[in-house]
Subunit: 777 residues, 2 copies
Amino acid sequence: MRRSGQIPFEPTPDPAWRLDAVGDDALRESSRQSRFAISNGFLGVRGECHPSHGDPFGTASRTLVAGLFDTGEGSDAVPTLIPAPDWLQLRLTFGGSVLLRQPEYEGSFHSLDIKRGLLLRSCRFSTNGAVVHVRALRLVSARRRSVGLQTLRLVVEKGEGEIGIEAVAGSPDPALILDDQDPDLSLWRTHRSRKQLAMTEAISVRVDGVSPGLEARSRPGLWTAHVAQGQDVEFMRLVSFHVGEREDGSPGPAASADLEAANGVGWTGVLKEHEAAWTGRWAASEVRIEGDPEAQRALRFAAFHLNGAANPEDERVSIAARGLTGTDYAGHVFWDMEIFLLPFYALTWPEAARALLMYRFHTLDGARAKAKRMGWSGALYAWESADTGAEVTPAHAVGPDRRVVDILSGTQEQHISADVAYAVWLYWVVTGDAEFMRDAGIEILLETARFWASRATLEDDGRRHIRGVIGPDEYHDGVDDNAFTNVMARWNIERGRDAADMMRTRWPEAWDDLATRLGVDASEIEGWAEIAATIASGLDDATGLYEQFEGYGDLEAIDLEAYAGRSVPMDVVLGRERTRRSQVIKQADVVALLALLPEAFPVGADAVNFDHYAPRCSHGSSLSTAMHGLAAARLGRSEMALDYFRRTAAIDLGETTAALAGGVHMAALGGLWMTAVLGFVGLSFREDGIGLRPQLPATWTALRTPLQWQGRTLMIEVDPGKRCVHVHVETGEAMAVHVGVARHWLETGQTLRIELGDPAIAEPAFDPSSSTAGHRL
Amino acid sequence: MRRSGQIPFEPTPDPAWRLDAVGDDALRESSRQSRFAISNGFLGVRGECHPSHGDPFGTASRTLVAGLFDTGEGSDAVPTLIPAPDWLQLRLTFGGSVLLRQPEYEGSFHSLDIKRGLLLRSCRFSTNGAVVHVRALRLVSARRRSVGLQTLRLVVEKGEGEIGIEAVAGSPDPALILDDQDPDLSLWRTHRSRKQLAMTEAISVRVDGVSPGLEARSRPGLWTAHVAQGQDVEFMRLVSFHVGEREDGSPGPAASADLEAANGVGWTGVLKEHEAAWTGRWAASEVRIEGDPEAQRALRFAAFHLNGAANPEDERVSIAARGLTGTDYAGHVFWDMEIFLLPFYALTWPEAARALLMYRFHTLDGARAKAKRMGWSGALYAWESADTGAEVTPAHAVGPDRRVVDILSGTQEQHISADVAYAVWLYWVVTGDAEFMRDAGIEILLETARFWASRATLEDDGRRHIRGVIGPDEYHDGVDDNAFTNVMARWNIERGRDAADMMRTRWPEAWDDLATRLGVDASEIEGWAEIAATIASGLDDATGLYEQFEGYGDLEAIDLEAYAGRSVPMDVVLGRERTRRSQVIKQADVVALLALLPEAFPVGADAVNFDHYAPRCSHGSSLSTAMHGLAAARLGRSEMALDYFRRTAAIDLGETTAALAGGVHMAALGGLWMTAVLGFVGLSFREDGIGLRPQLPATWTALRTPLQWQGRTLMIEVDPGKRCVHVHVETGEAMAVHVGVARHWLETGQTLRIELGDPAIAEPAFDPSSSTAGHRL
């Protein structure tokens, strides 16, 4: 192993590739921990900055491991992500003084190096006339997901004395029971979920590059040495975690093997591989913006957490509402994943997207069981899903006003099934991954379609109704014919028919097997056409307006402008009951439908619906502004969309809040990317290629983004100053690019320059006699 | 030690003397922990009910020790009450199964026995066909404050098997560093505050009353025995904690001595003494109400926590905002103590009141230092006070909306000095404790008067102004001439003059010493008369209305009725800035002045002010409704006052909230008692006796309360059905009782029956020509 230079500890110079924090800020510490978290889809480590009160080891970091769920005591308990033992604890002493606890240390400096996927720290301590400069680097490997690395370099800048480094593992969470421990390997099991966690670690210390430079002393894990001015001490700790089901045997050997392999390449080797993996992710997913450094950083920050959240190697886990950056929502998976995150993965990292959809395939049995239990057919996915796919939404929660409230989403928020189907179809349209469709996707589409076919009930008016649901707007429960739910359900049934057609045509034998297994026959699928055609949608043909749900229009109108100063959600301001009886919307609902299925809106009615619902929306969820931004961008209202974009970015990057304690908001981060690429670039999908309708905000002088489409690697550059867009196919076959009404043909390796029309694209007025557009997605 | 019968584990039968909880309720658990806390002014133990997730010992209780402060890292850190190691941890097994962790256990039942000062628990476990009934009793001794007792009784009702009891101490808080440990005694020190904590414990176990019935086994603290149906096992643990300053030597010997003494009387002896002490407290402080069981229980619950919070033996601690029932506000002492709690103690437990005021005397140097640092004379008490009296208000906090907000109270909320003076004077008026006045009270009155004399600045208008303060209404900072502050300051200066007169007259020598020490002379005190006379008060002579502060009337008027559904404070609804620019009041301000100094209001102007300010008050503090209740009761608006009383009771007893996590609201509990005794009974104080003006709500058919007044023990009974009040002097000299305009003379041992006048007492109309009443307090 070569002696390390200084470079690994220096953050990437470009400030738009970094997030810095100087000094301590106890009150914002929990937000920093979330924002500075690093993760690789298997391990997530929160970025603690502030020495915690009285902790002899200075900090209290927290490592989360994907899939490590356990359920507590009590009838209300639901599976919860259990933190792993803290492998980062460290106590540094110099001349007998504990360094990290010195209140007078200078210039504590933390930097999240977004480009390289590292958390870096630099700190200079003065103690009894001596000065020690400590730099630290931390990563969870993007190349070897089970592996974490912690490296410190201490340089004595002035004075001399005995330096001590004590490395211990923190107390495990009480939910973990120690099964076995030897010096190299610890093995825990969870109380109830029959999971096992293995942890192995290797530590090395050097003085001036010579190993062993410090001697192990009285206690295990403690090294000391006398060091003089100019000398440096390097500490390196590698760790490997593995999780397994108890019946599958110990995960210990796999953890040991991974650790050994990592140790073999050395810490600089682990660092290099990791940086190379991040370089690859950025090549595939970096959206570059000219003219708006804040937006540029926000998009990088978003892509950093999106790239860190996924693991293409594991089909048994998905991405929680807060990823692996915090424990809010207990590590549960919501529709956030399919609606707000999947587009990013499908278009930049299809392998990750596939694994994430396979999680829904593997949890189909849980969804079928939920549908059956509630008296319907097919598959009704869990509103909150953990390791098995069983419904794990808690029955109660403590609201923002600290009152206990009932949570009805677990039974009523059923659009989740259509959301999963939507993501499957989107993935298919974007990737053309036929194997996935044959082996998994079609089954999901059929089973969700089947659920809706049983769920929509024919009534005396000749229409089918879906009563007693919660739409995306969770302020209104038990509503009938929520437009979002019903239109998505109709769409889901139609895609179920398409899926059956596709399979019958392309893989007739596989179809026979599947149809037999599911007990589905031609007549059942035939019947879906009539069901889809008769589902009530709430669309008023005269105005082009969807009614959010039956009777919504009769509710009390509230002027949200009058409540502009509020700093809490509107249901807290008005009280739950009054909110329920008002038109105040929690989050994009009809607007979300507009963002997902614009073709479900008559020509020109998109603006009608947006203008009706946007002023009624109180954005009481972190999922709301992004959907409005996407819809506004598509409407050509670029400045309004930019405002929504900024509000979405502020959810995780705004400096005033301390509200990130539980982790970053993955859906908002995915939504930022969607606003940029699906919104401002105006990306859409056709049979023969892609469509573009770029409408950048005025300050964005250029935007450049790579994309994956149907096995091709594309680079798209929008240059509104020169009024043109460049499209380049780096790999893959020739394809079409549609801009406006023109269809351009693009050969592999070629860069196509397409002139844009008038920037002021007029919104078409709604004409009730016009037919709705027919394109999908 | 006699074998215990079954009785100790049975709660007091009368449900109005108990608080029960059946089963687990994870979401309300933190509130239960506060509500079911037991304390004795030195030790407080939260009443955990729910087995915590994964905890092998089933529960996570928390013991707080008065005065055990430590300060964390970081420049923002303030002293914080550090929990003691959990001495209650216990693991019970039967036939190898952990009992408290069984999800299927039946009928978990907790009862806070208010009468006896106990927390009781009963639980029946079924495991492998066997049934074990576990009952537990817990107390912190009201007789020996350093001592806690935990007793369990396990009866095998069915089956047989090996029973295991493992008793350990929980991990200490990271702020505690273990200094010394032997089997009988553990000694910790705090990181920074140089405090020491000693803990000693004694455990005994018996089977069928025979000791030793279980044998210590492989691990220390583990006992096992084979027990059959009908057998019982009794576990007893006594603990003693002592706290000391490091320079005062180890607190270990004192803890050991207390433990030995307690062990000497045995656990049933400790229980008996404790029950006897509570019987004494109830004889002195039980307010009995006929006709309203809910109010009865609320008042008992209030007096339970009030009696549990004080320690007459320790002059170095006071009562925190949440007592010893939780860690909100870090164990800091606010004006809550002097304004909301002191009346209860002065009138039912003068020894406790004296010790609590002595805490302010001992922290005078901190108050003098704060005044000096800010450029004034005399003593400006800390808005938040911990062990030394230094100002410990944090500079920032996270608001209810999770945003970081500045806290200005530490510099601007200066009425605290007048509040302390008010409490000193009230104590003097109620107790006539001349020794306290001579040795401590007068110095507090002089130094606070002196502060105000320097604080109120003469301006060109010939008036003295107090600018840049926060009144009780904390929604408005940096205000000028807050009526509450100014009128209390004026009153404080006047009492400073009275105090100097008293001392010069009664203790001329002591006066000379004090005057020399404080550097105060006759001319300084003489000057106070003119200063008091010229302080601006904001009283409008034409209307009788105080302006809450200069310019308040010009602020935006907000109709609070329109926000009736809200479940968060108004500053969160409107935003901080808009609230600041509005007339919305956080908590009783002019109304608080009315409750404290009714004589500062012109005749008839009390109703004018109440009617003006009550509709503007949003009750954004737990201190607000009680002051309104007291003022409304004094105005004869008994039903309105009862409504405020109920809202105050609901702060800690309401079933819907989960907002008690940080402890019960001591000020609200004190305020409940004040509303009943000072409000509904209409108690006031004269030179020769007391005044009564009973105006009970219609449902309260009788009220009976004991009182201490000037060395006498009184019993007052209001019987509105028979339209009379009975007053009885149990001990002490003859005295006067004023009811209406009549003065009655009451001999020792005599019961006086006084007929009441017309129940409908008309509120006098405000007459600007009338002079203000002159009685004090």
